[in-house]
Symmetry: D2
Subunit: 392 residues, 4 copies
């Protein structure tokens, strides 16, 4: 499937917030990583004028408005899907059936049923050497990857407590306008799927454990909002819109207390209503021997408490994860020169391109995405049951 | 009851960790606050030799081994109870019946039944002008008191999320020895009562709301420990004891997700197993207009996010709560000269002495202690029910 | 000079560390900013094989080994000079004489004489509408730009103290190898020019004042090093090289106490020997009304102390400079999604492209670079005089 | 000289800010440390009414207005001098001649001449077993003592850079009133002596080196102030006084760049004009192998960068210096329970009492105070010489 010159052709579907981020990663990955050359072949969107402008700006060779036609092209190796969640399943399954590698933005799907179908399709295609990944790109933040290394090396020991939260505040103001992200039929859920999927994946990925049971809840603090949304559904719209009111049909916040298969307990909380937290994904893992803390607003740093350090010399060490020996960092700048949020995408795509070249499995797989979906589904079920514990 | 010279006589029961802290507060309160003069009259303990040594060291005039005899003395105005929790109810009720003002270390009692009886006794005595308080002294940390002021002024608006945790690590090591704090018959519970009572009181006090329903859990990660405990039950004993093993009958950790009466949600977690957190009580309150964060390990600081600050100038402000205009601080040092953990006791006692002089009510009352106890009891009930939600 | 389509052609001279950074900025600026379209026309270097590989990787259309020939091309509008400092003057002056706009990496030159000649050439070319800038790109870090706004608005008042340091540690290990950066004939100076130029520019830029007098010093702690340098002179080479020893002929550290024209005083210090500081440019400005602190290792944050804030509510506010209303940030991501070190370059180039399109002056000008050079020269003169104060 | 029961009698001269702090230390030292019992015998001050009130409040047995008479008493072992600096020499020398142990608040004296005389007197008295210390009590902050341990163990290696500043802001407001601290005849100097003496002592103490040469400066930013001072010369008076204006005759700020005997360089800066820094003594020491940072506003913490830590695991470790094994901490509370600024005094007095009991030398000695005074004098000389370097 790859071109004779070893390059890979990409079709990207979606050109708003995620389209901008993904395009940047595709545009830059070859400058920093030794991976197959990327051809930014075609950018796909429903609105021809808008997609043309985006393609010009973001650097794509062509545009298209019909994603089905794109799937038939021989020069496309990877289909990168960034549509609203309700379209993920249809497009991803079709792309896999058309023989493409597939990337889907998180969360994998809007429902557990869709996620199951997608994982099945991915498994079938895997036999043909096709790779299907869900973009839990925070795994590729160097500090998170270092945390994973430390945990896998046994540096914090068996995990007893995980404290995980993803706090934003762009909906704290009740006059912030509607967007597709607040409509259940398009977004599936609110904070739960958008933020909870990232957070859940990090808990599962970092601990290497599963969640067996949980009790959870969801809440919509602001039940209707002015309908003056911005065109591209971008997050972060400011208040002041004064259109007619429209019902918010997703959650503003969700939470769970989860039992880990290794015997520990995890508290998770996600919200778009936490004043002052802008992109506040924080995760703390406490083990018998040590602990780790990470904050996405300071994503170049990792805090590590090493219980094996000398008596009286213990404390949380702020590791500035910007050294050549740190995961992914060798590709970038000298020590202490920080990288931005966007490069978790760059790293994730570099990983996929490497895996494609080397013929290995790639991750986070659709199965990983399904595992997350099962947790999100359990939170929803528990919430509907008034917080009663449910099996995952 | 007070002496002719307006001074008040104190009898303190207990002389270990809390005895040391309370004694310091009694010894120093007159040097910093304009309150009735304190006579440190008698220190009470079962072991005559030990209590004599403590009295000499901590500065008490006399000692006694029989607390009942002390209650009969006319020169005692305040009885300050710092025994293990299973003795609180008996002593406190007797002291109230003997006409004394009473201070009880937290948690108020080891069981809900005891707490109810104590609150009833306090209410009866209140008609006689007697005051009965439970020592949730963290209310008197200047930064916490400032937080309360900001919240009461409406600076953070209706509260949507409370994130509260009290993390310690002195039991993280499985070889740390037993102590009375790990035996249910003496301590009542483990982290739940010891840490959870403080944390719950702060949630109730700061929000000014009640908890209506919760689902919670408890866990004992290390189910037996070597019995080589230190004599005074001090926390923080190091590992390495090699006595015979003894069963741990209290929880190492507890947690809850609680519904606040104002419509918000609170996640609480307490543990003695979180490596690297030494006295890590952290509470974050997120309101519609602003938010607040506090960390007991940096107890002279308060973080305040003011959503009313100018656009583009918003952020968490680290207020160094050491200025003369801050609560309690005028008594101490110039700006920036921090005070220690011990002075939350000094402030609490100054408050009580002021209330006694002025004839006002005093707090935190036994009713406050009972409200906390109801929450702790609900957590235990929910835990027993596998995490199912229960009414408080 | 611009092409008919409004695009501008760039020739870049240099392809090592700075070449990588500049290339990235040129490659990305059009995706985020509405500026004239950039043609990455030609990458210039002495080694044909190396420059070809770099051009392929970084995305340049052509390569060249003779910069003089490139200056004669009509399709080149901007010449971007990233050579070692001893070549800056010759190339920049020739490029200006050839009618090009010029960007020079900092420091402007290796000597005051060269800087004076360059500033004169720039002034002459300016009359022809040519722009010549020196790449003090840290001015374009959003948090620094916000600091400048706050200062210009008078929010901190007259400045009394500036504490400025730029601390790195890549030479702390005496066994770290030689590089061209440690040879005076190529680099001109060590920490003084490399780090001190950035730091001095920030002091001058942020205060809007000049330095009238200073006393300073320089030191070489490790006077010889193994000669096993890496090929591209990259900073951050690890120790362990075991070639023959070679004399270090530049400073490891430099410092000055400087009198500001507004009556304040600034302490400056730069070093490559401060263990643990990786890219630790920190600047604190204390004024009569407020103060500001910035740390390049956390470049998305600004700390602002507002003396006009309410009594008892004052403190350093950590502004996460990632909101759409903050300088440069609107082009990027939603609130809280941090950007990396590299985008100070992107912003600087966006600024130049905007200025070219709009016909305005551009900055930091060669005159700004010369002002910095006069300060660096004064530090060297004072150091030679044993620290005696000298006029700038 | 000690009483038959081994107790020691103290006479304290001064009862304002320092009197309050010293009294607290004397009142509490026996409760926490196993040292000879302290008799708080007599508090001395010029104003009988004021000193009586202070003695009552702070817990002294008697008062006196004539310090000379007090020196003749047999029941006084230690004379603790907290007067304004111009009285230090006379009282201290007389007290030594009267056979007393002496404590002098820092700085040792207002002039180098006085300091020399005092050191000579102390040396003479030392032969009689008398101890004379200057109260550089910050040496006794646990985190500072831990820093000293780490440095003495060689953990940071030879020191190359010291960055030391002591920043306050209580004079930032030009309308803050006069006080004796701003009059040269009483205070000797301003920030230089008050803050610079502490800072210099820490530099000398922690490095274990001397300062051989320096260039420095001093500045008075606000040259006259309203004369409405508060009675006790307390620092921190707020603005708004509207008395007649009076000339400020001391410095608001001072600074120096100092050459260390070990080959490193230190930048020092002290000021009372740095908005937002309340008690901001910060010292950073960078060695060949590691580094250390301390901030008095977070005095229970020490940051330690260990260059010997594993590759990729290095960073600044925030040590919460509250563990039983840390210097001085065993006397206090469990891990994580922080202590306040005041207990550096308690520790210093515990140290002296221990030294008296054990017959050892005690420190910081008057010789240490003289060493600091020589540095302060050099800064003044350099300042008068326009910043020219001078030998210490």
């Amino acid at each position: 499937m790859p071109a004779a010159d070893g390059s890979v052709g990409v079709a990207a579907i979606g050109y708003a917030f995620m389209g901008k981020a993904h395009s940047g990663a595709w545009r830059n990955v070859n400058a920093y990583f030794d991976v197959p050359r990327v051809r930014r072949q075609v950018l796909v969107g429903r609105n021809q004028a808008a997609v043309s402008a985006a393609a010009e700006r973001f650097g794509w060779d062509e545009t298209a408005t019909d994603w089905r036609a794109v799937l038939e092209r021989d020069d496309i190796d990877i289909v990168d899907i960034m549509t609203p969640g309700h379209l993920h399943a249809e497009i991803a399954i079709a792309a896999l059936q058309a023989g493409k590698h597939v990337i889907v933005e998180k969360p994998l799907a809007n429902s557990l049923e869709q996620a199951i179908a997608m994982a099945a399709a991915a498994e079938a295609a895997n036999a043909n050497g096709q790779r299907a990944i869900v973009n839990f790109n925070y795994r590729r933040v160097p500090a998170v990857a270092l945390a994973k290394q430390l945990i896998d090396e046994g540096r914090i020991g068996p995990i007893r407590h995980v404290r995980a939260s993803y706090l934003q505040d762009w909906l704290a103001d009740p006059s912030s306008p509607m967007s597709w992200r607040l409509r259940k039929e398009e977004a599936g859920s609110g904070a739960l799927g958008d933020l909870g999927s990232h957070l859940t994946d990090l808990v599962l990925h970092l601990t290497g454990e599963s969640i067996t049971e949980l009790s959870g809840g969801m809440r919509t603090f602001v039940t209707e909002r002015p309908s003056g949304e911005s065109g591209d559904g971008a997050i972060g719209g400011k208040g002041g819109a004064d259109g007619p009111m429209e019902a918010v049909t997703v959650d503003d916040a969700a939470w769970a207390t989860a039992q880990l298969s290794g015997g520990g307990v995890a508290q998770l909380e996600v919200t778009r209503m936490a004043r002052g937290r802008k992109n506040g994904l924080r995760i703390e893992l406490y083990g018998e021997l040590g602990s780790i803390a990470f904050d996405l607003e300071r994503l170049n740093e990792l805090e590590f408490f090493d219980g094996a350090a000398g008596d009286g010399r213990q404390g949380f060490t702020r590791i500035l994860v910007t050294e050549a020996g740190h995961p992914w960092v060798g590709a970038w700048w000298p020590d202490g020169h920080i990288i931005g949020w966007e490069h978790a995408f760059t790293h994730q795509f570099a990983q996929l391109l490497t895996d494609l070249r080397d013929g290995g499995e790639s991750s986070p797989s659709f199965a990983d995405g399904l595992a997350v979906q099962r947790v999100l589904d359990a939170i929803e079920r528990s919430a509907l049951a008034g917080g009663s514990p449910v099996r995952v």
